[in-house]
């Protein structure tokens, strides 16, 4: 087993970072989120002009034609900054799904728009719909909270189950969106309702659910890189603060309680990074290892990100709980990103269910609890 990124991949990441770090400041993210549109359309255009919305899209579609490993590192670099753009759903989840679904006419129709920043897709898990009725090429329904939905033009989701399952693509360009009190204050969640939105069924039955599981695990992998980037950003912010702030005649960061809290964060990030790299390798190979690897990456990235964001707020003292400090933006984001494609408990259960099912012997019959609980 080899787990490392090539220098080409790292070079590409540095190129992206070079542009992105200069533009994606927290002041700009705040301004974008509080603008009437609720997001930073100008930054989105800038990235699309440089090709960064089509990292894995083919050159024929205007993309950079890179492999998914490159996209993993770009995802991490995106995670390191705050930016009010729908990168997560559109440039990671949806862009990757178009390639993975492998329907030529679909990608010919949509991929050029994705690269140009005009088709802005999202993967929404079925649990995030309160209603979804599909009939005859149209769908009506509602998502009470969908991240980055101010900009979303397309939603990919799985409707129904078993033999009734359908992988569907909704065109929500004309949907009604309502500003809500979003937990994340940079990548805002909106309530979306749509009435007879154009809907296209991409797969049915087992094929649809299998495909959906793959798309979801791939998205979880990319997202784990975003979370690791975001966790490192929170850790860096905390570290910089405790080095420069003095108390009791010495830097806060020289106190062992502070050091140890940050060392625990670092260790959690390293475990998460290791799981993410493994998942990236599994994703790149395209085999069945991804199901478990994606779940593991997702859970440990969520743990690490939340731990980092909490430590960062805490080590900023009073400043950490203010609206002025960016610490709360990280704290909110860590909670929100852990929810977008389902909370960790769901991913843990998926992993254990797979492992138990894979065991040769069936589990023993359920027994009554023997202890007090």
């Amino acid at each position: 087993m080899r787990l490392s990124f090539s220098s080409d991949h790292q070079g590409l990441r540095e190129e992206f970072e070079h542009v992105f770090a200069a533009e994606a400041t927290s002041a700009r993210a705040r301004a974008g989120a509080s603008s009437p549109e609720g997001w930073d359309r100008a930054l989105w255009r800038q990235l699309s002009e440089l090709g960064w919305l089509g990292v894995t899209a083919s050159e024929a579609h205007g993309g950079l034609g890179q492999d998914p490993l490159a996209l993993c590192l770009i995802a991490e670099a995106f995670g390191q900054r705050l930016a009010a753009i729908p990168f997560l759903g559109a440039a990671l989840g949806f862009a990757d799904a178009l390639l993975t679904i492998g329907d030529r006419s679909l990608s010919d129709a949509l991929a050029p728009g994705v690269v140009a920043g005009e088709v802005i897709g999202a993967l929404a898990i079925p649990e995030h719909f309160t209603a979804l009725d599909i009939d005859d090429g149209h769908a009506s329904g509602a998502c009470p909270a969908l991240m980055d939905a101010a900009a979303t033009t397309h939603i990919l989701t799985l409707a129904g189950a078993g033999s009734d399952a359908q992988l569907i693509l909704l065109d929500v360009t004309a949907a009604h969106r309502e500003r809500i009190d979003s937990l994340d204050r940079v990548n805002l969640a909106w309530a979306v309702t749509f009435d007879r939105a154009p809907s296209r069924t991409l797969a049915r039955g087992e094929t649809a659910s299998d495909l959906w599981r793959t798309l979801r695990a791939r998205y979880a992998t990319f997202m784990s890189f975003v979370q690791i980037g975001a966790a490192s950003a929170a850790l860096d912010m905390a570290r910089d603060h405790v080095i420069q702030r003095y108390a009791f005649g010495r830097p806060l960061g020289s106190f062992q309680a502070v050091k140890h809290e940050l060392a625990d964060v670092l260790a959690a990030i390293e475990i998460a990074r290791s799981n993410a790299w493994f998942a990236a390798a599994a994703l790149n190979e395209g085999g069945s290892a991804l199901a478990q690897a994606g779940a593991a990456a997702r859970v440990s990235a969520t743990d690490a990100h939340r731990l980092a964001a909490r430590a960062n707020v805490h080590l900023h003292g009073g400043l950490g709980v203010t609206a002025e400090s960016d610490a709360h933006l990280h704290y909110r984001r860590a909670q929100a990103l852990g929810l977008v494609i389902g909370p960790s408990s769901v991913w843990r259960e998926r992993l254990i269910a797979e492992l138990v099912a894979a065991r040769a012997v069936a589990p023993a019959a359920p027994q009554l609890p023997r202890t007090g609980s």
């Binding site: 087993m1 080899r2 787990l3 490392s4 990124f5 490993l69 850790l235 570290r239 080095i243 010495r250 830097p251 960061g253 020289s254 062992q256 502070v258 050091k259 140890h260 940050l262 060392a263 625990d264 670092l266 260790a267 390293e270 475990i271 998460a272 990074r273 290791s274 799981n275 790299w277 493994f278 990236a280 390798a281 599994a282 790149n284 190979e285 085999g287 290892a289 478990q292 690897a293 593991a296 859970v299 440990s300 408990s345 843990r348 259960e349 992993l351 254990i352 269910a353 492992l355 138990v356 065991r359 012997v361 589990p363 023993a364 019959a365 359920p366 027994q367 609890p369 023997r370 202890t371």
Partner: protein, 409 residues
């Protein structure tokens, strides 16, 4: 990024698998070795040591021992091959644990500082495990604060006279040789007055006394030095440069990695399935968390191996692996003993596979202390990786014999 073997690795794996199948012990012995620490009718320690040496000698004679050693000393400089060999060894891989100090820690120090004649005489015997070595660093008043060692080495005609005491020395009761960190100058600051030596454990004046562990085993020892003579030719490095030599020893993990990761969440999943506890949602969530952490640890080892094989210095992986892995052993042991409920209170007579959780219960705390405690590792991560400032420490400035110590009496 590749989850599979390279062609070279795949060829090595096939070759190793065939060799192991042809050379391993009979079924009964293999069965006894399963989960070594945790077998229900544990072999006496001396027998396990003998098997560990014998297995290593078989490997050496076939060219499979010390695969991580530099080529110049008869290794293959191939941590990846060592990891593959260990995967194929199955329960036999546990024997490497008996030889880590000999083949990695002590050998690394010799490779760096011994004369070429000494290396030629000593290293092949180490590689074959004909000689067991021990590492005499820690003392009653020098553990985490290792540079505080007080065992005194004074110049005499032709060499050094040593007096003092070491403690927690693993394997000293089996060792023919050992490396020794001693104070040669108490009047300079602590890190500067140390010197590294090696000596035969049957040197006159050396007395080894095994210390019983909470598990009932006696794998580490205290050692008393009473006017022990060490020839100056057995000094490793310059006089006063013992700290540097100690750091070489402690950093020899490069050669040791991939050797061991003592967490086994799959066994816990088996247990939960056997007892039926797996139907409980809380058990499923907790087990999933450990499985995920263990996967992370294993991928962390793979990252470290890859970095080394690509000629890069590994980052914070080693400290992370030990820090996270140690606590996990304690947590998992306690959880497993709870899972088997009343039976966790006592083992059944004879062969009880559940002994493994009892052994983990004993082993976790040892793992969290040995070779850099959790707190020391966290300081390393915070200071060396995150760049947080060191604490102000008067002991670094003062002559060693003026550093404050605990009040006596």
């Amino acid at each position: 990024m590749n989850l599979n073997d390279t062609p070279e690795e795949a060829a090595f794996r096939a070759e190793a698998r065939a060799w192991i199948a042809a050379n391993r012990y009979d079924e009964r012995t293999m069965e006894t070795l399963k989960g070594l620490a945790g077998n229900g009718a544990p072999l006496p320690s001396a027998e396990l040591w003998a098997l560990a040496k014998d297995w290593n000698a078989r490997k050496y004679d076939a060219g499979y021992a010390v695969l991580t050693w530099p080529k110049a000393f008869g290794g293959r400089d191939a941590p990846n091959l060592a990891a593959i060999f260990a995967e194929e060894e199955g329960p036999l891989a546990r024997f490497q644990g008996y030889l880590v100090i000999t083949q990695f820690m002590c050998a690394a120090t010799l490779m760096a500082f011994a004369s070429s004649e000494q290396k030629a005489a000593l290293l092949p015997r180490i590689a074959r495990a004909d000689d067991i070595w021990c590492q005499m660093f820690s003392e009653p008043a020098a553990g985490s604060d290792l540079a505080a060692v007080r065992t005194r080495a004074e110049r005499v005609e032709g060499g050094w006279r040593v007096n003092g005491q070491k403690v927690w020395t693993s394997g000293a009761h089996m060792a023919g040789w050992g490396t020794l960190l001693a104070r040669t100058d108490p009047t300079t600051p602590k890190h500067k007055g140390l010197t590294m030596f090696f000596l035969r454990m049957d040197s006159p004046g050396v007395r080894v006394r095994p210390i019983e562990l909470m598990s009932g085993e006696a794998e580490f020892n205290e050692i008393f030095f009473d006017d022990v003579f060490i020839p100056d030719a057995q000094r490793l490095g310059e006089v006063g440069a013992g700290w540097k030599a100690a750091v070489v020893t402690l950093n020899s993990e490069r050669m040791a990695i991939g050797a061991m990761l003592d967490v086994d969440s799959a066994a816990l999943l088996d247990l939960a399935c056997e007892t039926g506890a797996i139907t409980r949602a809380d058990v499923r969530q907790t087990l999933a968390d450990w499985i995920i952490k263990e996967r992370g640890l294993r991928a962390c080892v793979a990252r470290q191996l890859t970095a080394i094989s690509e000629g890069r210095a590994p980052g914070p992986e080693a400290a992370t692996i030990k820090l996270v892995g140690g606590v996990m052993i304690e947590d998992m042991a306690a959880y497993a003993l709870d899972l088997i409920d009343g039976e966790g209170l006592a083992l059944r007579p004879g062969r009880d596979p559940r002994r493994v959780y009892r052994d983990m219960f004993y082993f976790g705390p040892a793992q969290r202390a040995a070779g850099g405690s959790d707190e020391v590792l966290k300081n390393v991560l915070a200071e060396r990786v995150l760049g947080l400032p060191m604490e102000d420490r008067p002991d670094n400035r003062l002559p060693f014999n003026e550093v404050p110590t605990a009040p006596r009496g």
